[in-house]
């Protein structure tokens, strides 16, 4: 029988993490994502699955706890919102450099600086282009519903361990705070010690006589070795681009125009497509689900069919750059967005489509 609950996005990702067999959560309060840790603390998963939940002294400490836990082959995660994710960038860079799996959730609020506590999508660059120092990428999942907040916890861990790479769930204050019906998956057991030894032989669980010591580091003072290491990372990112692109198309079959939007903007844009179609405008929606890897090929294919593309984001225009790169200047691409915590209405999206793409 299906297990259905009405939950906030922040609660859904927390509950789904427990069910995904998460070993440890390390966090620090920040609006609009504090419910993640509040939910976990209230659930006391230590008494059921054995999962550790710890409130750290800062986001910096929290991500470094994730670094320590991930080094042991454990399923560990953290969550925060934009200013806190900025603080975590140092640790994220180390985790990416040391090739460790972990799950990071960003429930984005408007910036820059302390900005606003209202929803935004202005962390796209930070999420998809590295964020911290050095040549690295995160695998970025963008949920557009509370259901996906739940589903991406397990998927995120799966992908993180598959590629030994941090996975970021790039959500926003809308998805984090709104309540929807969620179908919860059954509980997965946490990794056993034997599974850790077998599946993550690189992990630091104590040097046994049958193997050399395991070292988790992102340091190599030999530049040639470091170059080899970064080349290896690049190959991993290429494999992600080949294997992990996820997206959804809505009414694209006969589309003459296209909206590209992710997360909550995609929800708004879906409504905008319906309004526009009622007015006789043949418009479709492409929703990237992975932001890295970005759905370049489907966009390039659609660019041969449509007369113009509108990228809709709650930002000054960040993803629009990737849309332009993907379509290789074959078709007009414009950006429409509200920002600073303002959520666009479907009517505004339709108006922007008419002005910037159809009339422009």
């Amino acid at each position: 029988m299906k297990e259905l609950r009405l939950m906030k996005g922040n609660e859904a990702v927390a509950e789904a993490a427990i069910r995904a067999g998460c070993d440890g959560y390390f966090g620090y309060p920040i609006t609009p994502q504090s419910e993640v840790m509040e939910y976990l603390m209230a659930e006391r998963p230590h008494e059921t699955s054995g999962m550790i939940v710890l409130q750290a002294e800062s986001e910096v400490a929290a991500i470094n706890m994730v670094y320590g836990g991930a080094s042991c082959g454990k399923k560990v995660m953290t969550s925060s919102s934009s200013p806190g994710i900025s603080l975590k960038q140092e640790g994220i860079s180390y985790i990416a450099g040391a090739e460790l799996p972990c799950l990071i959730v960003n429930v984005v609020r408007g910036g820059p600086g302390l900005g606003t506590i209202q929803p935004s999508q202005s962390d796209y660059f930070q999420s998809t282009k590295g964020g911290g120092h050095g040549d690295y990428r995160l695998l970025v999942l963008a949920p557009a519903s509370v259901q996906e907040m739940a589903d991406f916890a397990d998927l995120g861990f799966e992908l993180a361990f598959k590629y030994r790479n941090p996975v970021l769930i790039l959500s926003d204050g809308v998805i984090g705070q709104m309540m929807e019906k969620v179908e919860l998956k059954p509980h997965k057991p946490r990794f056993t010690d034997e599974e850790i030894r077998t599946n993550t032989p690189w992990a630091t669980y104590g040097k046994t006589p049958d193997r050399e010591r395991n070292i988790i580091t992102s340091l190599d003072l030999d530049s040639h070795k470091q170059e080899d290491h970064v080349t290896h990372l690049a190959e991993k990112y290429k494999a992600m681009e080949e294997n992990e692109v996820r997206y959804e198309e809505f009414q694209c079959e006969d589309a003459e125009y296209l909206i590209v939007a992710y997360g909550s903007s995609a929800r708004i844009s879906q409504k905008a497509v319906n309004i526009a179609r009622a007015k006789g405008i043949k418009v479709g929606l492409l929703r990237p689900i992975t932001l890295f890897p970005f759905p370049k090929k489907p966009l390039l294919n659609l660019s041969k069919q449509v007369k113009g593309i509108l990228s809709v984001e709650m930002s000054l225009g960040q993803m629009v750059e990737d849309v332009k790169l993907a379509v290789e200047c074959k078709v007009k691409v414009e950006h429409f967005g509200r920002y600073g915590g303002i959520i666009p209405t479907p009517d505004e999206v339709v108006a922007a489509l008419e002005q910037k793409i159809i009339g422009g």
Binding site: G24, E57, V60, A61, N64, M65, G68, I216
Partner: protein, 262 residues
């Protein structure tokens, strides 16, 4: 009876008194000649060997001179970002409470950039051992002023000596963390003479034993030399350390069995 015995006769396995522990790798240490880091590394590894805990110990290396500690310590190790070792150690110990977990940190790492991580790991009473090497200087980056640099002591970023009015006072972080209820055992030792080495080893052993008993955080400071940074010979630096560092950072137990030593 004859006193005539050749060196070959003495150098037999059955006559062995002391040799480097197998828990140190064969790699030549990257430290400057005479640096106390090597001795401190050896003491920690000897204790782990005595405990038979190679398979049950995870060490966390810092950023600083001992950033490459994992090259020398023959155990599973993680290399932390600057100052963050206690955060890593917290998670490792929480996730694997049956393991010995220690951090090995210098003064810049532990008492400047990592102050928050240090104090909060101590305050939570994490069952980890912190080995703190205090040589009053940033060695790795070339001898800059550290949080523990003595008043009027010269360093490359205080070339006329540390002026406490503008550069702040040396931070006695060990006394500071000893105040915290989560901290069970705090001691300050040195490794420049045979007697000090023996006392430090006892202290490290005690810290690991207490960790096994889940007593809370155990903290061993080792006041050490940085002859390169201090611009002295190793032997001179050890003498200078006795005359200048020890009066400010006196050796001995600071907290035992959770009680401050009067």
């Amino acid at each position: 009876m004859s006193d005539i015995i050749t060196k070959e006769q003495i150098r037999q396995p059955e006559n062995l008194v002391y040799t480097k522990t197998k828990l140190l790798t064969d790699k030549a240490l990257s430290y400057c000649p005479g640096c106390g880091h090597g001795t401190a590394h050896r003491i920690v590894m000897e204790v782990i060997e005595e405990l038979g805990a190679q398979a049950n110990t995870i060490g966390i290396a810092p950023v600083g001179c001992s950033v490459l500690a994992y090259e020398f310590m023959n155990i599973d190790m993680q290399q932390a970002a600057h100052g963050r070792a206690p955060a890593l150690a917290t998670a490792v110990k929480r996730l694997m409470p049956e393991k010995y977990v220690f951090t090995y940190q210098g003064d810049g790492d532990l008492a400047a950039i990592g102050t928050a991580e240090t104090i909060h790991a101590c305050n939570r009473g994490e069952n980890i051992t912190i080995i703190f090497i205090n040589n009053g200087i940033y060695g790795m980056t070339g001898g800059q002023m550290a949080p523990t640099t003595l008043p009027n002591m010269k360093a490359s970023t205080c070339p006329y000596g540390r002026d406490v009015k503008t550069m702040g006072n040396p931070l006695k972080i060990t006394e500071l963390i000893a105040q915290l209820p989560g901290v069970h055992y705090v001691t300050r030792q040195a490794v420049h003479t045979p007697g000090n080495v023996r006392r430090t080893k006892k202290a490290v052993r005690k810290a690991f034993d207490l960790q096994k008993e889940n007593k809370g955080l155990t903290f061993v400071e080792i006041v050490s030399n940085c002859n390169s940074g201090w611009k002295m010979t190793p032997v001179q630096s050890n003498k200078w350390m006795e005359e200048n560092m020890f009066p400010f950072y006196p050796l001995g137990d600071i907290k035992v069995d959770g009680q401050l030593v009067k």
